[in-house]
């Protein structure tokens, strides 16, 4: 009797061991600025990734691999990001890292990923991340200059020659300012006013008065809430009738709410398709995915899904695709680079050895505020 029990135990152990071996778990590491000044990026990213991993595991994992997710909060701090990246690689032995959330942190983490040979899929938008291309580094948000280009194409259509720009004095704003100035020069626009404001400023009428005197054909504002909302209101207060463009940084209903439907009316901006999925054509390849994401996120966290969370979604889909061809860091990197026409939240990704972002102008739609809602600019 005892023997039989032992035998059974051995068999069970063997059985369990073989199933485990058949699908060893994949460890995904994530570095997000969940708290601190960039938490508007990190929080939805973390939520999204956790939701997706849970979903995938409930369905038996990705390609038979259970997914283990290790998320660390960098608090938007460059030093912490580097420490935690090392921890993910050395202690947690992850095969791929998603994040960090900001460009500054990503630039600091890149040398670590390159040295340890672990693929990094950044959720930050800075162009420096993938230009020049680094072997182990990818990113999901479209480059800032894509958004800037989208705005300038629209300005060309409307025959606006003299532009005024007003940008926020943080990383996002100064990157936007650089791109806008460079692109505007290339495309033959004239920048007649170049103003800045602080991320916590509460009144921009001084800058706008200066802009008003420069008589631009259009104003481009580059920032994240609440600054652009205050600018929209200040423009109304000053009685300026100049067309106003915003960046993709305020592409959420929150902006209309803050500025007020009245002051926001007519403002145009480039936005990821998540913002307007219900207005896209039915045959758009992204529509179903966008709707599913928004509804699942709302169900899980009670708030609307954001473009930022979408960056983490993209990273997860990229990894899912890459895992089909093996789960060690080297294999994941190679198959990430071969991603072709992957329909995701931020757009349709096509990577190549020369392009580790994989998005083009089609990642953004030009939209306009009309009666407190968005409409597509035709």
């Amino acid at each position: 009797m005892k023997r039989i029990v032992t035998l059974a135990a051995v068999l069970v152990t063997l059985f369990v061991a073989t199933t485990v071996m058949a699908a060893d778990p994949v460890r995904i590491g994530a570095l997000f600025a969940v708290t601190g000044p960039a938490s508007f990026l990190g929080e939805p990213e973390k939520n999204t990734l956790e939701m997706l991993v849970k979903e995938a595991n409930a369905k038996g994992g990705i390609g038979g691999h259970k997914v283990e997710l290790v998320v660390y909060d960098t608090q938007g701090d460059v030093t912490k990001a580097v420490q935690l990246a090392n921890k993910l690689i050395k202690n947690d032995k992850v095969s791929v890292i998603v994040g960090p959330s900001t460009t500054g942190e990503t630039m600091a983490v890149i040398p670590v990923a390159e040295k340890e040979k672990v693929p990094l899929i950044s959720c930050a938008a800075g162009i420096k991340i993938t230009d020049p291309v680094k072997k182990w580094v990818f990113k999901t948000p479209a480059n800032d200059h894509v958004a800037a280009e989208k705005i300038l194409i629209q300005a060309t259509k409307l025959k606006q020659k003299n532009l005024a720009i007003i940008t926020v004095s943080d990383g996002f704003g100064s990157s936007g300012r650089e791109q806008l100035k460079a692109l505007a020069g290339e495309k033959g626009f004239k920048i007649v006013a170049d103003e800045v404001y602080g991320p916590k400023d509460t009144d921009m009428t001084a800058q706008l008065t200066k802009i008003k005197a420069a008589k631009p054909d259009a104003i481009i504002c580059w920032g994240t809430n609440p600054g652009p909302a205050i600018i929209a209101r200040n423009i109304k207060q000053l009685g300026m009738k100049v067309p106003l463009y915003m960046s993709h940084g305020v592409a959420s209903k929150k902006f209309i709410e803050l500025a007020g439907a009245d002051a926001a009316e007519g403002i145009m901006l480039p936005a990821g398709r998540l913002t307007v999925y219900d207005k896209l054509q039915k045959n758009d390849p992204q529509v179903k995915l966008l709707r599913d994401y928004d509804q699942a996120y709302k169900k899980a966290y009670g708030v609307e899904a954001s473009t930022f969370g979408g960056y983490a979604y993209d990273a997860f889909l990229l990894i899912t695709g890459a895992l089909k061809k093996g789960s060690n860091p080297e294999q994941i990197r190679d198959s990430l680079e071969q991603t072709k026409k992957l329909v995701s939240i931020s757009g349709v990704f096509t990577m190549s050895p020369a392009d580790h972002n994989g998005l083009d102008l089609s990642a953004f739609e030009m939209i306009r505020v009309a009666k407190g809602d968005w409409e597509l600019v035709k």
């Binding site: 508007f40 929080e43 103003e195 800045v196 916590k200 400023d201 509460t202 800058q207 109304k236 000053l238």
Partner: protein, 293 residues
Amino acid sequence: MHFDQISQYLLSGLSTGAIYALIGVGFSIIHNSTGIINFAQGEFVMLGGMLTLFFLSALKLPLIIAVVLAIGVATLAGVVFERLAIRPMKDASPISLVIITIGGSILIRGIAMLLWGKETHAIPTFSGNDPILVGEATILPQHLWIFAVTAVVIVCTKLYFSFTISGKAMRACAYNRRAAGLVGIDVKRMVFFSFAISAAMGSMAGIIVAPLTMTSYDVGVMLGLKGFCAAIIGGMSSGLGTVFGGVILGILESLGAGLFSSGYKDAIAFVILLVILLVRPQGLFKKGETERV
């Protein structure tokens, strides 16, 4: 350079300056009765805005009731803060108390973040959004509210500190705590009052500026610092000095942004603060005090 441009800069400066002044007066009141600088003052400003929003949107109360309740709750927070953080430190030096207020501000901000989240919120203006023309320049009706409330608050504090027993007692405490205690003034009570008053004023400032500046859990940091600058320029007076301090700061900022470079707007404010601290630590409008031996 056109005249209408300058007049808009001045008017914009005046309206932001009034906000700074109103917040600065809160700093002065606590300083005048305790000798400490309460760096949690900005958080009372934040509490005013956030509580109003909470009562308006979550409990669907009418504006006036929401405002009164918000001031009430913020005052309570000020009182509790004094009881738990300031009073237990019996013989602490002013500098340790100042550091405690910094800790308190971080705590209050953290609690607000956990309670109401990290998002920015808008509050409706009290009387519409139609700009008012003043010559060539424009202001909003909400700015008139700010001017009016600032004026009323300054007059009231002036009357309070000059003509009431408890107001005079508070000034006595600021001048010399020990001597004030010896002539029978309950110093602790005065400190308690000063926290209640300045919390109430801070929250009131927060409420009337929120429709313009919007509100979020961290709005108090910058507004608090600017209010502090205003108070320093004004020599920590609870009256006209701080008002002028705020207005000077606001106008210099907006002229600086308009005529020089908007990138250095905040730098201008803080350079002024440093210069004044170095050259005239007693403020622009106060005569230097001579120590009698």
